[in-house]
Amino acid sequence: MSDVVASGLIVDLDGEERLMGARCERCATHAFPLQATCPRCGAPMSAVALAAAGTLWSWTVQRLEPKPPYRGPHPFEPFAVGYVDLGVVRVESRLEGKPLSEWQIGDPVRLAAGPANEAGEIWSYRFVSGAGRGPE
């Protein structure tokens, strides 16, 4: 399987890792990940660093192994996944740092680096239990 590389997904801003999102130059709509044109009005979007922390907006547990191209440990390990409210946008993310069934809507979470490929490049991200610097 070829390496999954997600260039530009995570940026380092003043020593803090942030997800790279997009902001519409015309209507200020935010999106994630970075995309060229606005899903609301079609105008160009520019890159913007999203907040490094937020609150859990919804969650579930993936208890069955996803079909390919899912790339996870063998044997399969169930994982929590949810939407994290970052103020301007809600980002879907794998969740770590709590027992699977103990997640609750409203839990504070912060960004962490995800898995790396064989070349050592980080290709995804996680949100982990705990407070951090949220949306301004």
Binding site: V4, A6, L9, G21, T29, H30, A31, F32, P33, P39, R40, W57, S58, W59, T60, V61, Q62, R63, L64, P66, K67, P68, P69, Y70, R71, G72, F79, V81, G82, Y83, D85, G87, V88, V89, R90, V91, E92, S93, R94, S101, I105, G114, P115, W123, S124
Partner: protein, 379 residues
């Protein structure tokens, strides 16, 4: 609208040893026989299938009459799109008699989806987030929270579907199951257990349509398609395969399609005698009751626990067991709903016949990536 249904046909839903195309043929021939028409009297056709073969290739078995046959694909809305295409041809005056057909034959388990086909980055699927069952769980988890609804309602609404499936000859799952057993089954994606989901399956369904004027000449039992509305999502809705959501969640395509269908039909949700709703899983069934206008959001518990949704209730829903009991052959599923409504309105639904000679019916499909087709039927 001025279009009516004069024939319906099904191939049972489930798992079978024949191809998807063959199930489509069975359904198409049954619908033609029900209408008392032959294939060479059909002057327009539309059909769809995701995994069962090319719909337009049915002409090589039905007969090479030169008929225009449009193949469509719109995810779970595929069958609805086929009907929509036929209705437009009849209303435009370019067709007199049209056949809408759908069939499918899916592999077991949740659909595997390609990130690239949805315009999504590879990492999204590789990291395990491109999973349909996961989306349904995330959406209903938040909905239950926002509307302070009891998660047990999910098991109760699934039990209603399986009870109806147990008395439906063409259904796949024929065993009724109490809500407690459904709630205690294997958890797939919290809060949804295995028996709260429909599964990809196999089957075929078809209808024959013509102008209402001609339908009345042909048959005393024709059913009028009073409205058919097709909508895609607007900005801000909560859809499958979304790496992000907008801060304000907008009403989904179902709300728009249902409103438009009722407006065209000139009647409201309170006038509907029987309804078939998209219950891809129990959460969808719960949300669609409100999205179609049958109750305010958050008041589904009253409808479910009063018995209103049962076959002898005031608003019988998914009388043939819905997707939960029939599975979802994508190309056929929306047509199955219309076939069931026609049978109910004609008094031909057997053990599951809604009492009191229902006069009006409603169908709703909803699917990726945010489309809905709703219809209103009446006799």
């Amino acid at each position: 609208m001025s279009v009516s249904i004069v024939g319906v046909g099904l191939h049972p839903f489930g798992r079978f040893d024949i191809s998807g195309r063959e199930m489509g043929l069975v359904a198409a021939r049954a619908a033609l026989a029900d209408a008392g028409l032959s294939w060479d009297e059909v002057d327009f056709a539309a059909g769809g299938s995701r995994d069962g073969g090319h719909a337009d290739s049915l002409v090589s078995d039905l007969g090479l009459t030169g008929v225009p046959f449009v193949s469509v694909y719109n995810g779970c809305g595929t069958a609805g799109s086929a009907v929509h295409t036929c209705v437009q041809a009849i209303e435009a005056g370019t067709a007199e008699v049209a056949l809408a057909v759908g069939f499918d034959k899916h592999a077991r388990g949740a659909f595997a989806s390609s990130a690239a086909e949805y315009g999504l980055p590879d990492w999204y699927a590789a990291d395990g987030m491109m999973v349909t069952t996961q989306f349904f769980a995330l959406k209903i988890q938040r909905y239950l929270h926002d509307h302070d609804l009891d998660p047990m309602l999910l098991a109760e609404i699934a039990a209603l579907a399986l009870r109806n499936g147990s008395i439906t000859p063409h259904a796949w799952r024929r065993r009724a199951m109490p809500a407690d057993e459904i709630a205690a089954a294997t958890m797939v994606n919290d809060p949804l257990t295995s028996f709260m989901f429909c599964s990809p399956s196999e089957g075929g369904a078809a209808i024959v349509l013509t102008s209402t004027e001609r339908a009345r000449q042909m048959s005393a039992r024709s059913i009028e398609l009073r409205a058919l509305a097709f909508r895609t999502r607007r900005f801000g809705t909560f859809e499958v395969f979304s790496p992000w959501l907008a801060p304000d969640i907008a009403a989904g395509a179902t709300v728009d399609a249902a409103l438009a269908a009722f407006e065209t039909a000139g009647i409201g949700p309170e006038d509907i005698d029987v309804a078939q709703l998209q219950d891809t899983e129990a959460g969808a069934a719960l949300m669609h009751l409100a999205e179609c206008g049958f109750c305010p959001a958050g008041e589904q518990d009253r409808l479910i626990r009063s018995g209103a949704l049962a076959i002898d209730g005031t608003l019988p829903v998914n009388t043939d067991g819905g997707l939960i009991a029939n599975g979802e052959p994508i190309g056929a599923s929306g047509l199955r709903q219309i076939v069931e409504c026609v049978l109910q309105l004609q008094g031909r639904a057997g053990d599951r016949q809604v009492p009191g000679e229902p006069r009006t019916a409603f169908t709703q499909v909803y699917g990726a990536p945010g489309i809905s087709v709703c219809s209103v039927l009446a006799r």
